[in-house]
């Protein structure tokens, strides 16, 4: 036994324990662990060159060129995913996926060694493989699983795609097939889809063999196809009841109940001729047929790694979905996901806070008339979550605001001393006052008097409410805060908000204030920002070179080289200006920099979440930790897009030069050179307050030459450092 083996065994044990100790209530979210794999840190150009060397030199020139193009695109685009901050490795979910993959590949070590399995932080029910042997499994897919065997079939399907190099074959076929070029657009689509469907069928069939060989049960195959068919639905169907938000005194009108719920209507016999994947039901029946042939004598298992581990992974995936939904602004999905999970975890603070954040952001958007940006029509929703969509649709701005406020203050009472709940609760009251002109007097401090029943019929007979009753129901808002109005803190919050509103209105109509603001803005426009920062962290600087004259417009290799130089410029400029700086970028990380990697991932989520209004983020606790760790609150997104395109005035100058010959040299130069654009942007955020501290963006009609970039970066950095003297 060597030391390496002992330590790796110990590490796996720690990971396994971690899988069962993921406590979301304590803020323990999914994080990558261990050393950063080379996939994340190696330059894309190096990966490409290594693989390009392996291309068969005896192949036809056209095929070789297509293969090189494929490898170029594939390596760079995969790296975009790997460095997006959305990929997890060595976390409990990845570890679990590895365990299932090990069962499948137990007899094929070389194949096992050539594959890597990562988790993608996406709510979509999907998994995909890359030509380089990376299999990404989405959290959305894991959250929808019913058994380990379903995951095993997904993995075996993806492994076959890798083994058979399907993605490269499809790419090369499309570019080298002579017939393909002569086809009409529609025929091309059909041809491409047919080719893709053949590959999917092959992956299903060969995957089935691998799946059955590993000892998994044939009956779970149905679950896999259900997963494909119903993946767009939540992980479980449970009728949403509006009583979820109701209290003793907050009762929604009966008209907010959806009378008829859309049933799940996924067509079984849909036309798959223009689809890249065969019809799910066709796949199901074909594979069921094949599985009967292949495993006549076998009786497989649903769980080989173990049911307990599966359940732990499933729970983690489902809990993690809330964070994904909120970062993606799918607030109603986040609420419904929490609603489902609260059935089995009724005390979870994390889930309740997810509901609170969902309502909070819906309120914010609704109050600004932007609700449609973050919701979809309830008519487009199927199944048991539809009543929730309907309820949110029916609630007016004031009603939604009040509902969110009641929920937040209820939570505040349940979890006292939680500053994040407090912040949201206070902000919601402020929203009520400033956005909806609501006052404490609008609400009753006493509960609604219960009328004596005038129902002449037996209690089991349901009757429609009378017009009078309906009118009364509409007044439900009046009693929403009966439970809270006696709380002095709530009343104080109201008065603070009212005071703020008054101050704001005084300022709004004050000439001197307006003048002051105008002057402030003019100074920023003329002289720039003055942040007075000592240190700034640059999060994943970006550089894209695009040549619209070329077939492959995004110039991958040039972009990567330009990015490396861009990073050097940032460091050089910040040090010359006298400001401390750090670049958080996966390609610049060393293998042990796991803390930085995780910080980077959370920052990516946070940047993704950002809104146009002041808000309290779900990622606030992590942001505070990151700010402390890096010794600054200032985090910057910086980048450049450099674009080349054909000039449209070349012919005009040539004609002009015929009339006036001295113009000829310029006309030739003009025709021979492209038009350049360089777009530069730099935003600095205070990650604790969520405020944007600096916003520089410049569209430059010049080439991305060194001096153009240097001067723009310098200008931004100077504004970060400079502190304006207070008069």
């Amino acid at each position: 036994m060597n030391l390496k083996l002992i330590s790796s065994t110990f590490f796996v044990c720690i990971i396994s324990i971690a899988a069962f100790s993921q406590d979301y209530d304590k803020g323990e979210y999914l994080k990558s662990m261990g050393n950063i794999p080379l996939d994340f840190t190696k330059l894309s150009s190096e990966k490409y060159q290594e693989q390009a060397e392996k291309i068969n030199k005896n192949a036809k020139a056209k095929i070789k060129r297509s293969q090189r193009d494929f490898l170029l695109e594939s390596n760079f685009l995969n790296d975009e995913v790997l460095t997006s901050g959305e990929v997890l490795f060595n976390d409990p979910l990845s570890q679990y996926v590895y365990k299932v993959a090990n069962v499948l590949l137990a007899k094929n070590k070389p194949l096992k060694d050539s594959l890597r399995f990562y988790i993608l932080k996406s709510s979509a029910v999907n998994a995909f493989t890359t030509n380089e042997g990376i299999i990404f499994v989405n959290i959305g897919l894991l959250s929808h699983l019913k058994s380990e065997a379903e995951l095993a079939f997904v993995l075996s399907h993806e492994i076959v795609h890798f083994q058979a190099k399907h993605s490269m074959k499809e790419y090369v076929d499309e570019r080298t097939n002579k017939d393909y070029k002569e086809m009409s657009l529609e025929d091309r689509v059909l041809s491409k889809c047919n080719f893709s469907k053949e590959q999917e069928t092959e992956a299903d069939l060969r995957g089935l063999q691998m799946y059955l060989d590993a000892g998994y049960a044939t009956e779970s195959l149905d679950g896999f196809y259900d997963l494909l068919r119903y993946g767009y639905l939540p992980f479980e169907e449970k009728l949403f009841k509006k009583s979820f938000f109701e209290t003793d005194n907050l009762k929604f009108p009966s008209t907010y109940d959806l009378a008829v719920i859309n049933s799940v209507t996924t067509g079984v016999d849909y036309d798959d001729s223009k689809s890249t994947h065969p019809n799910v039901e066709k796949r199901r029946s074909y594979i069921t047929q094949q599985s009967n042939v292949l495993s006549r004598a076998k009786k497989g298992k649903k769980f080989i790694v173990g049911e307990k581990e599966f359940n732990a992974a499933l729970k983690t995936a489902r809990f993690e979905m809330n964070r994904l939904y909120i970062a993606d602004r799918d607030y109603i999905e986040a609420i419904y996901n929490s609603y489902l999970l609260l059935q089995t975890n009724p005390k979870s603070k994390y889930l309740k806070m997810s509901v609170m954040y969902g309502l909070y952001f819906l309120t914010k958007y609704h109050n600004r008339n932007d609700k449609s940006d973050v919701t979809k029509s309830y008519n487009d929703v199927e199944g048991d979550s539809q009543p929730l969509y309907y309820l949110i649709d029916q609630l007016s701005k004031e009603e939604l605001n009040a509902t969110a406020t009641v929920y937040a203050w209820k939570l505040k009472k349940e979890f006292p001393g939680n500053k994040y709940i407090d912040s949201v609760a206070y902000d919601l009251v402020e929203e009520m006052v400033t956005q909806n002109n609501m006052k404490p007097d609008d609400f009753s401090a006493n509960p609604k008097k219960k009328k004596e029943s005038t129902n002449k019929y037996p209690s089991y007979v349901k009757r429609a409410p009378s017009a009078e009753e309906l009118e009364e129901e509409k007044q439900f808002m009046k009693y929403a805060f009966v439970d809270i109005l006696d709380n002095p803190e709530f009343v104080k919050a109201f008065y603070i908000a009212e005071q703020k509103k008054k101050d704001f209105e005084i300022k709004k109509y004050s000439y001197s204030y307006k003048k002051q603001q105008k002057a402030k803005q003019a100074i920023i426009e003329k002289k720039g920002y003055a942040m007075g920062a000592d240190k700034v962290v640059f999060v994943s600087p970006d550089f894209k070179k695009v040549d619209l004259r070329k077939k492959m417009a995004l110039r991958f290799m040039a972009s990567e080289q330009a990015l490396l130089n861009f990073n050097k410029r940032i460091i050089k400029t910040t040090s010359s200006v006298g400001i401390q700086s750090e670049i958080l970028e996966p390609k610049a990380f060393n293998s042990p920099d796991i803390q930085k990697f995780n910080d980077y991932a959370v920052l990516c989520d946070w940047f993704q979440e950002s809104h146009d209004f002041p808000y309290f983020s779900m990622f606030q606790p992590e942001m505070e930790q990151i700010a402390t760790r890096y010794g600054t609150k200032n985090f910057c997104k910086i980048g450049t897009v450099s674009l080349k395109e054909k000039k449209d005035d070349a012919a005009a100058f040539i004609l002009a030069s015929i009339v006036y010959f001295p113009l000829l040299p310029y006309a030739i130069y003009n025709a021979a050179t492209p038009r350049y654009y360089t777009y530069y942007y730099c935003y600095v955020y205070d990650i604790v307050s969520g405020k944007m501290m600096l916003k520089n963006q410049n569209l430059i009609h010049l080439k991305d030459q060194s001096y153009v970039l240097n001067s723009n970066i310098y200008s931004s950095v100077q504004q970060m450092k400079y502190k304006r003297k207070q008069k």
């Binding site: 695109e73 894209k544 010359s576 569209l699 009609h701 001096y707």
Partner: protein, 240 residues
């Protein structure tokens, strides 16, 4: 892939320039430069044989960046050119003196200020990018018997001194290399106050008509032709 193109297009469509800028190139606001201005002699011929020639002027200046989009330069400019010249006295010339012999050398020096404004809408930032400029200059010139064509006047003798003012307008572009060198190129149009760049007093048919006004006009018109249109190319050095 397509998504990336859309993203790029989105970037370009969605944002307007909203960037305040620290003046100068990386904080450095002064730069010194020299340039040559040249163009075909389009109008007022400097020579007696009416053959087209090339104009040349030399300029040195010191530029100070005022704001993100403007700069002010102090400039010195020098030029020399042959010019038709009638001696004051008829005795100075023999009766068979040809037109060729009525030539003198004009040397001119201008001192002035040039204000440049940059096309910030296209992302130019002083001192680089696309610019337009206007200049106002004091012009001082001396006419000398450089060619020795005037009898009884020693070669090199100063025949006359004139003064005027020049207004210029230019367009061009500046590039920066190695964070220090500024290369610039463009066109400049100028007008010498009191001149008619297209006109020239013809004296060939009236030798006996001697007038200092004619000499002044010829000189000024000649200088004006030198300022009329010029291709401007030069090199500068960012100081501090």
């Amino acid at each position: 892939m397509r998504a990336i193109y859309y993203l790029v297009i989105f970037y370009f469509l969605a944002f307007v320039n909203a960037q305040a800028q620290v003046p100068g190139y990386m904080g450095k606001r002064w730069y010194a430069y020299g340039n040559v201005q040249t163009f075909f002699n389009l109008t007022n011929n400097n020579q007696w044989n009416q053959k087209p020639g090339v104009n040349l002027k030399y300029r040195a200046g010191l530029d100070y960046v005022l704001t993100k989009g403007s700069s002010l330069a102090a400039e010195y400019e020098y030029l020399q050119s042959a010019v038709r010249y009638e001696p004051e006295s008829a005795a100075s010339v023999s009766s068979n003196t040809s037109d060729k012999e009525f030539s003198a050398m004009v040397r001119s020096m201008t001192l002035g200020l040039t204000f440049s404004w940059y096309n910030t809408g296209k992302g130019s930032i002083a001192p680089y990018g696309f610019y337009q400029q206007v200049g106002l200059k004091y012009l001082l010139c001396a006419v000398t018997n450089e060619f020795g064509t005037m009898n009884r006047i020693r070669p090199g003798f100063t025949l006359d001194n004139f003064q005027s003012a020049v207004i210029t307008y230019g367009i061009g572009r500046r590039w920066i290399y190695f964070d220090r060198l500024v290369f610039h190129a463009g066109f400049e149009f100028g007008y010498v106050i009191g001149a008619n760049p297209l006109g020239m007093v013809n004296i060939s048919g009236s030798r006996s008509y001697l007038n200092s006004d004619v000499n002044f006009s010829n000189t000024i018109n000649r200088l004006s032709a030198l300022y009329l249109v010029n291709f401007n190319i030069g090199l500068g050095f960012i100081l501090f």
